[in-house]
Symmetry: C2
Subunit: 385 residues, 2 copies
């Protein structure tokens, strides 16, 4: 890793800080689980959107990944990744870019859940004389897209894809597990996710169709799954950074959060109990994911530059470039003069990271310099679609 002469006290605020020590610990934890469960881990890189962060996943060498945009797929292909799943239902208009990636040797799998899409994909494969590997999206919990495993369209799509050499398997995502507030509920969500995916695969196999991939995953279910028999791969993305939503679900602790936003105190409104910072929603995003949880964390919890939480202090309001900090339960406002730097721990790492061009990288396993971690390097993000 490169080194700079800067610490968290130096760049103008706001900026995103990534603690590589915590990220590596989070990565190791889920990799160990996947190894124990006997499945391939296919991390979702939509959270970090960074080749440098992804290099932490597998000791610097490319591993299977999941992406949320073709821009990510193209950047990862450029970075030497050859095993990529694009896990958003395919828009037929995007097939030329998919085919271009396949032609350069990337095994890019796409996702779909309709006869319409399957027909487009089969036709495009025939025209290109190149089968586009496709997975059928299965709905396990009514969260978003996908087909129920017993839907008549499942074998119909399977046959259309198989006829063009495109059928790769099935994929499901337990999106509702973000609302599974106990570990029992999370285990049940993981079991349901696995059972649903395997049922869909069995249904296709019973129709004489080959199913290579049975893909499941979400950060909560990946950490809760106890048995993934019949599943070939596990997906999760958020765990590389974690966030307050995940801490609220008990999937991690607040100490595991690898991403924070460094901000500066720029004013005080003691009559209202407010401390004003230069970190608003442009730096944090508008995500209020913990609003649906037992403990609403506003726009984020507040730590000192050393990373230690300041008790009872919460970012409770945001405008574009202003954040408002208040205390809980009438606790007195801490003394934080103008110019004081703070770190805000976000609700939703994917959304907060997306507000930044990249990460100032720190390593909390190293001793700070004058109370501020050294900045080791800057890791850029992939933007756009």
């Amino acid at each position: 890793m490169n080194t700079t002469n800067l610490t968290l006290a130096d760049p103008d605020t706001p900026f995103a800080a990534l603690d590589v020590h915590k990220s590596l610990r989070n990565i190791e934890r889920l990799q160990t689980r996947a190894d124990q469960l006997g499945v391939t881990l296919r991390p979702h890189v939509k959270t970090s959107k960074s080749l440098d962060v992804a290099a932490l996943l597998h000791h610097g060498s490319p591993c299977p990944v999941t992406v949320s945009t073709l821009a990510e797929a193209e950047a990862f292909a450029e970075g030497g990744y050859t095993d990529i799943t694009y896990a958003v239902g395919i828009d037929p208009h995007k097939l030329p870019r998919v085919i271009a990636l396949l032609r350069r040797g990337v095994r890019l799998r796409i996702l779909l859940d309709s006869v319409e899409q399957a027909s487009f994909v089969a036709e495009a494969s025939r025209q290109a004389e190149l089968p586009i590997p496709a997975q059928i999206e299965i709905d396990c919990d009514g969260h978003r897209g996908g087909l129920k495993p017993d839907a008549p369209a499942v074998p119909e799509i399977g046959r259309i894809l198989h006829g063009a050499g495109c059928l790769d398997g099935v994929l499901t995502h337990a999106g509702e597990s973000y609302f599974a507030f106990t570990s029992d509920e999370q285990r049940l969500a993981a079991k349901n996710e696995r059972d649903t995916a395997v049922a869909a695969a069995e249904r296709l196999r019973a129709a004489g169709l080959p199913v290579a991939t049975v893909s499941v995953g979400s950060t909560p279910t990946a950490h809760a799954a106890e048995d993934l028999t019949g599943v070939t791969e596990l997906r999760a993305g958020n765990y590389v950074f974690f966030d307050l939503v995940m801490a609220g679900l008990g999937v991690c602790t607040v100490e595991d959060l690898a991403l924070s936003v460094v901000v500066t105190v720029i004013g005080h409104r003691p009559e209202y109990g407010w401390i004003i910072t230069d970190g608003g929603w442009m730096a944090m995003s508008r995500d209020r994911g913990t609003a649906a949880q037992a403990q609403d964390q506003g726009y984020g919890l507040v730590a000192g530059l050393d990373g230690h939480l300041i008790p009872d202090l919460v970012m409770t309001a945001a405008s574009q470039e202003h954040g408002t900090l208040t205390t809980r339960d009438g606790a007195p406002l801490p003394e934080l003069p103008v110019g004081t730097r703070l770190r805000i721990l976000p609700n939703h790492a994917c959304a907060t990271a997306a507000q930044h061009r990249g990460y100032h990288v720190i390593d909390s396993a190293q001793s700070p310099i004058d109370g501020a971690q050294a900045i080791r390097t800057f890791w850029p993000r992939i933007a756009g679609w």
Copy 2:
């Protein structure tokens, strides 16, 4: 303006489309008001963050502008703008960049609301042998930062700034006008904003301090103000694009919205009444500004590619790269096959625009080609801080 061979049917979705015809109409409307009120208009460029959009403001030549970040100030300075107000309370750590802009001939005004900040600025001005023009932030409605006009700190700060040649004037922003739901309330908010700023200026003048600038503004109050006697300039930003929050306040109509996000239908869940698109919160932002209004518009209203609203269709849920459209009041789901392109009108233009690297520019005064507006050019945004 350049021309491309593309229409809104061509670039991969999601992407931001800016209707230059509507923007120009919105710009002309407020410029006419400012002229009638006899004040300088100092548009806030934080909404578009684009030199190209700013060129619409004043027939292509630089005009006074307001910015929300020093990155904007630097980009606008590079673009020939020499009269810039940075309207976020100053972090002393950022003063070197302020001084660098002043040295290159930009009259950059900064904002502050504490004796602490004033002392930093006065000291930095003395050391640089260059007075930093500063405005005192005045709070007119308890929205965010600033001092009440009768706060003892107002003349104290005034004296510190004046002693270093830095005192430029006062600035206030009626942020609570976003919650002024009737035109009467908006007129009152505008009167209060004006009265408060002028009272603060008079207070400084009574203390023997010179006040050159008396700056007020927000998009709702700028459109509601009837008398700005004593005010020297009016700020507003959102009006260049407008959005559903402003339409909900009655400041504009939905037809005035210049910004939309083009998305594609990628799936259907008829059993839930959902149409799924490839435009999630990454494309729209997490902003739910209309949730506080009488008519909650979800994540946005839905129009066809031709710009005409599809009645009763609303984007009601978002994940990172998925949007869910539903109908209101049990209206039947329209027939929108996979691959159909739609335009989502956003709650909050500042937040939605921030999710994109720039704008695909269309002109709705021109006839569409096969039902889709021609894309005239691409205008990039300024990013970061």
